[in-house]
């Protein structure tokens, strides 16, 4: 078999942003006619996990991490509810329901969702009602803006972007090739450390320009991460002493 890897199709644009995890959960609570103030967590968690599995297979995509986060939260709540209410902490509030925080969030979202529905039930310009004349401001119709409309700084920046996009202005950046690679720098540091057990960072980076300094510093951090060197700094803003790892071991 030549192809073992299946490339997922990207033809469908998933309407995922429409449905956030909280919205999905709200929908399930309504669908199963569950009392939002007394959510059977085990039941609703099961329905939730089913729903996200369905969504994934339907849309053929991986859902965002926030869906998984909420699933984890639900399981966490369930585990808190199962724990015996031991009075380990006498100051702990006995009456706190582990579901309370989640319910608060669901209600807040539900409140805004109904407010949104009420807003959309108003006579909306361009849908239900129209201004006289032909050159009214239609949402998103920027050409209809009067030439000297009062603009704030963000609007100005936006307009500039729009003009730039329209004229396809592309900024050409002049980039010069990087002279040094971090890998090379690491090798250099290790080489030096092979000869001398200890070297100062100022010495390592000395004589170079800013790019060189940054490369050396990143390379040094990388070397430490890889366990090739250890570093210590004796005073704030002071020099960094780089030591070979083996040398340190012998010393201690």
């Amino acid at each position: 078999m030549s192809t073992a890897i299946e490339i997922p199709p990207y033809s469908t644009v998933p309407p995922v942003e429409m449905v956030g995890p909280l919205t999905l959960l709200l929908g399930l609570i309504r669908k199963h006619e569950v009392d939002i103030f007394d959510i059977p967590i085990a039941f609703i968690t099961e329905r939730y996990l089913e729903a996200i599995a369905d969504l994934e297979s339907e849309l053929d995509i991986e859902l965002g991490g926030e869906f998984v986060t909420l699933a984890a939260e639900l399981l966490h709540i369930k585990s808190l509810m199962l724990l015996p209410k031991a009075k380990l902490d006498p100051t702990a509030d006995e009456g706190t329901d582990p579901r309370e925080e989640l319910v608060g969030r669901l209600l807040a979202l539900q409140g805004f969702r109904s407010a949104a529905a009420e807003l959309l039930a108003l006579p909306v310009l361009g849908r239900d009602t129209f201004d006289g004349g032909s050159d009214e401001l239609v949402a998103g119709d920027h050409d209809a803006l009067p030439p000297l409309a009062s603009l704030d700084i963000y609007k100005l920046a936006q307009s500039l972007q729009r003009v730039a996009r329209r004229q396809q202005l592309h900024t050409i950046y002049d980039l010069s090739a990087e002279g040094l690679s971090i890998r090379e720098k690491i090798v250099r540091i290790v080489d030096i450390l092979a000869r001398r057990a200890r070297v100062s960072f100022f010495e390592l980076a000395g004589g170079g320009d800013v790019a060189d300094l940054v490369t050396t510093f990143v390379a040094l951090l990388e070397a430490v991460r890889m366990g090739l060197a250890t570093i210590c700094q004796l005073e704030h803003d002071g020099d960094i002493i780089v030591e070979a790892v083996q040398a340190k071991r012998k010393a201690s």
Binding site: G20, G64, E100, G104, L119, L125, R127, T129, G132, A139
Partner: protein
């Protein structure tokens, strides 16, 4: 005062000026501006304009626009007045327009409501409430000029603050932000100990 016929005539005339002005104006007109126009017309005809006549003319126009045989309604947007087509006929009128505004998606409407009621608000706060990434929805709303960047909060990272635009009021035909439908506090409907301000603290982006 003692000349009801003359007064009625003047009110009718002023009402006509108002209707004509609101028909021609490209933007909602403030009451002060309308008063100027009425006064200017009366001055030309040599009759002193009275504020009381103006007030009655506005009332008359209001009554006329409530008449079901008329196709225009007088609306107050951001404290200013404007004539708009009666919402009853929206579905047949849309075809007359070349451009049609695209519908607001559920996500957009939800985000817009949060901005409207919680402004000025940061993206992180919106996302904490919705439980989902909202940057795309926010930029769509900014693009449609329903919300705008109103500044930055003096806080770590100087997060951008969003608020609604003047066009938002115009879009929904609202006289002011106070005219927003009341936000029902669902937690209060229940006899429970959930705090009335049930919004969670904005979570940090992780």
């Amino acid at each position: 005062m003692g000349q009801p016929d003359r007064d009625d005539h003047q009110v009718a005339l002023a009402c006509g000026v108002l209707e004509a002005a609101l028909f021609v104006a490209e933007e909602p007109l403030a009451r002060a501006r309308l008063w100027q126009l009425v006064a200017a017309h009366f001055e030309r005809t040599g009759v002193p304009a009275e504020e009381q006549v103006f007030a009655r003319a506005l009332e008359r126009l209001q009554e006329v626009s409530a008449d079901p045989s008329r196709g225009l309604v007088l609306v107050e947007i951001d404290g200013k007045l404007r004539l708009r087509s009666d919402p009853r006929f929206g579905h047949v009128l849309a075809d007359l327009r070349a451009t049609r505004p695209s519908r607001l998606s559920k996500a957009a409407a939800e985000t817009l409501a949060i901005v409207a009621y919680r402004q000025p608000v940061t993206r992180a706060e919106i996302e904490a409430l919705r439980g989902v990434g909202s940057s795309g929805t926010l930029s769509t709303l900014v693009e449609r000029e329903l919300i705008r960047i109103v500044g930055k909060r003096d806080d770590i990272g100087r997060p951008i603050l969003y608020g609604t635009t003047d066009f938002f009021l115009s879009f929904f035909g609202l006289s002011s932000l106070k005219g927003l439908p009341a936000l029902t506090d669902l937690a209060e409907l229940h006899d429970d100990h959930i705090p009335p301000n049930e919004a969670p603290e904005p979570e940090e982006d992780t």
